[in-house]
């Protein structure tokens, strides 16, 4: 009997990754929010990624990962923003509706990969050219707007091409950013209303 109970408990625990989370209804209504800095000199990174609709593969992302290329450190990868974290109901929501927010220390960074929202949680690795094209530097503390990107599907949705969306086509992003940083440390770095 004990043996069966233990086996059942093990299977149930392993299955947690496939089950909805108890806090999903609460999380769905949580607003995008800028995380407060945890070290002096950090910058806030804001970006938007939209996926081309399709039947196969992901149509949204669960995580954005960066690679730091300067200052040099071996394999310095950083999770910029994720939905895949423990106790997320008690933490700041950093990804919503394609927008993401995260903090970084001074350095030069590249976009390394996205984790898709499909059942298999596809890992969308950036190729060398994509990584170089996405490189940005965080220098003076402030807000870095990476802009908006469109993930265009390749054959059967198995691969994607990332295309930059002109800023003028997504003017609503600034309102999203303003709302997300309101009342946080980062509010002081917002440009005045009416300025780009």
């Amino acid at each position: 009997m004990t043996r069966r109970l233990l086996a059942l408990a093990a299977v149930a625990a392993l299955a947690t990754g496939c089950l909805p989370r108890l806090t999903d209804p609460v999380y769905a209504f949580r607003s995008l929010r800028a995380p407060e800095p945890d070290r002096e000199g950090q910058s806030l990174v804001f970006g938007t990624i939209e996926f081309e609709p399709g039947l196969l593969g992901p149509d949204d992302f669960l995580e954005v990962d960066l690679k730091r290329v300067r200052p040099t450190a071996e394999d310095f990868d950083r999770v910029l923003a994720t939905k895949l974290l423990l106790y997320r109901a008690f933490r700041v929501r950093k990804i919503k509706d394609g927008h993401f927010l995260g903090v970084v220390e001074p350095g030069a960074y590249e976009l390394r990969r996205l984790i898709g929202n499909d059942l298999g949680r596809s890992i969308l690795d950036m190729d060398e050219d994509g990584r170089r094209a996405s490189r940005f530097t965080a220098t003076r503390p402030g807000i870095i707007d990476l802009g908006a990107f469109y993930m265009k599907r390749g054959f059967l949705g198995a691969s994607f091409t990332m295309v930059a969306i002109p800023r003028a086509e997504r003017p609503e992003r600034m309102a999203v950013l303003r709302e997300a940083v309101a009342g946080t440390w980062w509010e002081r770095y917002l440009p005045a209303e009416g300025r780009p």
Partner: protein, 305 residues
């Protein structure tokens, strides 16, 4: 006499007032750092002025940072720079290039001494090709040389800039979540017996299951035997992670209520959420093997919330 005495007395009186609690202290600019910035291409010096010309007139600047404060330096075409800063430790992390920046492969740290000008040396940033690389964070190396004799006119104190710590700090420092994740429950299979092991592993150097971590652990085990009543044992031990996802540990198991005492060694293979275990108990009659599957309640609960 009187016109001078009045402002002096007023200044003395104001100086003796207690500091206002709500007023943030203004940074005092009572120190300066000086030095020279130099680019190198194939062993040849490229001055700041030349580099600006190569880049089509894009402005090259140097900025120092200390926490949230940034201080721009006055940078001449010959590369000589001076920055007026508050005394303390300042970092040189990037070179401004037009609207962009060249982030240095190694960040430098310099000490600005109160009331003094400090020469931090000649900073050389090497490139394969300055024209195409400067501004794309592609510099090869950064070196600092003591050329202060040529720079400061002998008046400045010398304290050369040196490599600074990582701006991100220690990303693998142990925090309370790592300690909480050390509580593990394990189903143990030993011959015909079944056991439940509740252990707490406390990491020291890195989060659990990360390469380079050291840990100590304590555990309580209860076995349900097919041939007798259940029995319990206590365990203490220590271990290390030679690779990510691998934990090697060992210790002593003491039977409760007169049970045998035996050393043990364990190999754990898996992440923080769950893992497989193979354990050897070195009992007087020989080695007894057990195998187990452990789960971390902190992760199981956290993945639901």
């Amino acid at each position: 006499m009187i016109p001078i005495a009045v402002p002096l007395a007023l200044a003395a009186a104001l100086g003796s007032l207690p500091a206002g609690g709500g007023t943030p202290a203004l940074p005092s600019l009572r120190a300066a750092v000086t030095g020279r910035l130099r680019f190198e291409q194939g062993g040849r010096t490229v001055t700041v002025g030349e580099a600006q010309r190569l880049l089509g007139g894009r402005r090259i600047g140097l900025t120092l940072r200390s926490g949230w404060e940034v201080a721009p330096a006055r940078l001449g075409a010959d590369g000589q720079f001076t920055a007026e800063v508050a005394p303390g430790s300042w970092r040189i992390e990037w070179i401004d290039v037009g609207d962009g920046a060249e982030f240095l492969p190694t960040t430098l740290e310099a000490e600005a001494r109160d009331g003094r000008t400090t020469c931090i040396g000649q900073i050389t940033v090497a490139f394969d090709d300055v024209q195409s690389e400067l501004g794309s964070s592609s510099a090869g190396t950064v070196t600092v040389e003591d050329r202060c004799g040529e720079l400061g006119g002998g008046k400045a104190g010398v304290s050369l800039a040196h490599p600074g710590g990582d701006p991100a700090g220690d990303q693998l420092a142990v925090d309370w979540m790592d300690v909480a994740a050390g509580l593990r429950t394990e189903a143990v299979f030993q011959d015909e017996d079944l056991g439940l092991r509740v252990a707490w592993s406390i990491p020291f150097r890195r989060p659990l299951a990360w390469q380079g971590n050291l840990l100590v652990s304590g555990a309580v085990v209860r076995y349900w035997s097919s041939e007798g009543p259940p029995h319990e044992a206590l365990e203490v031990g220590g271990g290390l992670s030679p690779f990510n996802g691998i934990e090697l540990s060992g210790g002593l198991q003491v039977g409760v209520g007169g049970g045998p005492t035996a050393p043990w060694a364990n190999l754990r293979w898996g992440g923080n959420s769950y893992a497989l275990n193979a354990r050897a108990h070195f009992e007087p009659g020989g080695v007894v093997w057990s195998f187990g599957f452990d789960l971390t309640p902190f992760h199981v609960l956290g993945s639901f919330l």
